[in-house]
């Protein structure tokens, strides 16, 4: 049986329950000339439960249709039934690699909606937490991206460094990952005495670890072969499709929300924003590596600002932040505030706000609409992974499946972030 006759004997009629994708794949798929293959939802390289319906001509991708929703947890609807302070814990688990970024976006939206001020010290503390979160998220990205492309040692090294950051998080919030440390008005509690020396010890040790990773990958001919020229996206296409963060900066667009519309006092810190040139996987990789080095700079400057920063770790406005337990013993107002805040929670006006911050993945925006009561009417998060998965088909035209693995890794998607 020759190859041609095998092709002729295949079904010429499209069978299956995928009627609605008939107009989304080319006609060659319906005749059986190209193959329709499911990549995921259970797949080692899709970084979560992502289903990609691939139309393949041999190894080459003709069409790529992402199918998401396998991790849709209804977080936004759950938050509509919780008061604002309780809702912070729900935000932790959306982008589970950068929980403090989600907390910060939501808390900043609440603060904008009700007009709550954040003291300077709390802002510096938040910056330290956010930058540590950024380093930790980029370490997971690097580890999983490298192991997808075959570099297994990098995975183990990155997770070894990440354990040190998780120890720091455990010290301040009690939890390694979902600490809910950033609350409306500031942070949950002050840094323990051991925190600042431990952060400094980590920062002293970390730059040479990044050098180790670069030694393994940046000039490695295997890495260069697999990442240079792959997954190129032009800057205007990336902008039009809503890319943000390192995925956009890899194409050369100089947009970092920390620089453009500074929040939490980012205008006081000196740091560079690494930019790519070609918009391929390699440039996005370099952007994130250099971002880790910039994070170290920011944390050092924040630690220097910490002793002189004015105010406490959380706003003093007792209408919104609960009083410390020591006060409850001798102040009636404190008892009343404590009671009102922990039973009912504070109220927010029947207006809408939108706050966007720079998470490790890109722009995470929190749209918050209050009711005038203690629960929100609508919380919607615009998450960077959502927009980037939308753009995967653009980057993977005329590439092979192995390149698709590199592309998915390079846009740093987290499915909890995408599906919420």
């Amino acid at each position: 049986m020759t190859a041609n006759s095998a092709l002729e004997n295949q079904a010429t009629e499209w069978v299956g329950s995928l009627d609605d994708v008939k107009n989304l794949v080319t006609e060659r798929a319906l005749t059986g000339e190209t193959m329709l293959l499911n990549m995921g939802p259970h797949h080692p390289s899709t970084h979560g439960v992502l289903r990609l319906l691939l139309e393949l001509d041999g190894e080459e991708i003709i069409t790529c249709l992402p199918d998401i929703g396998f991790l849709h947890t209804g977080i936004e609807k759950t938050m509509e039934s919780k008061s604002y302070e309780k809702g912070v814990t729900c935000t932790d688990r959306m982008d589970y690699l950068a929980p403090m970024s989600n907390n910060a976006a939501f808390c900043m939206a609440i603060e904008k909606l009700v007009g709550l001020d954040v003291p300077e010290r709390a802002q510096v503390m938040r910056v330290i937490c956010l930058e540590l979160t950024r380093i930790q998220s980029h370490l997971v990205w690097l580890g999983t991206h490298a192991i997808d492309l075959g570099a297994m040692s990098v995975f183990l090294y990155c997770f070894r460094e990440r354990e040190k950051i998780l120890d720091l998080f455990e010290m301040i919030s009690g939890q390694r990952m979902m600490g809910s440390y950033i609350r409306p008005g500031g942070v949950w509690r002050d840094f323990p005495a051991q925190f600042v020396p431990d952060v400094e010890a980590f920062l002293d040790d970390f730059p040479r670890r990044i050098d180790d990773y670069e030694l393994l990958l940046t000039t490695n001919p295997l890495w260069l072969d697999r990442t240079q020229g792959i997954g190129v996206i032009e800057p205007d296409v990336a902008l039009a499709w809503g890319f943000s963060g390192p995925s956009l900066r890899g194409s050369g667009v100089n947009w970092d929300i920390r620089k453009a519309t500074p929040y939490l006092g980012y205008e006081n810190y000196q740091f560079d924003v690494p930019l790519g040139e070609h918009g391929d996987v390699y440039d996005r990789y370099l952007c994130r590596i250099h971002e880790m080095r910039e994070c170290i700079k920011i944390i050092r400057q924040a630690l220097k600002r910490l002793p002189e920063a004015k105010g406490g770790f959380r706003s003093d406005n007792r209408k919104f932040t609960p009083p410390p337990r020591a006060e409850l013993g001798h102040s009636m107002e404190a008892v009343i505030h404590h009671f009102k805040l922990w039973t009912e929670g504070f109220s927010a006006p029947n207006q809408e706000v939108y706050v966007a911050i720079e998470s490790p993945r890109g722009e995470i925006g929190c749209y918050l609409h209050g009711t005038g009561g203690n629960k929100p009417r609508r919380v919607h998060f615009k998450t960077p992974s959502f927009m980037h998965i939308q753009g995967i088909p653009l980057m993977s035209e005329n590439h092979m499946i192995a390149d698709l693995v590199a592309i998915i890794g390079s846009v740093d998607i987290v499915l909890g972030d995408c599906d919420r």
């Binding site: 396998f70 849709h72 609807k77 759950t78 990952m177």
Partner: protein, 160 residues
Amino acid sequence: MGVTQKLGDLGVVTTTLETAINWARTGATWPLLFGLACCAIEYMSTQGGRYDLARFGMELNRASPRQADLMIVAGRVTRKMAPVVRNLYDQMANPKWVIAMGDCASCGGVYNNYAVVQGVDEIIPVDVYVAGCPPRPEQLIHGILTLHEKIMGERIKDWA
């Protein structure tokens, strides 16, 4: 022959067939490479250098369910993903075990709503439940050791 010589005066080692089989099974239960959400990241940390899962013979995650023994459901199972989980469980060959890692897999966790299956034991039978959100690597290792205890207590007449 060689074994008895190495053991010298000990002569012969006796055990029951059950114990031998169960001990062999606990030695290397290959997990299915199946991470859903945040618990998967803690699972990856457990496989990292500090909390080394390789000492249990479990550093080798099999992507194919046919080759896996243990399914660690790490993360929330949504209604859209539930048929996929059941399919994967059906495709695994006996002997197979399931650890429900984390609160979401054990009971639905934080998410008591329309989208999340309230506990993966609604779809597949679970052997060990590990609590935590996400469970610390030490908690997961405790769950794995509990599973090993369960496997050591299995009787041949239950599955042969």
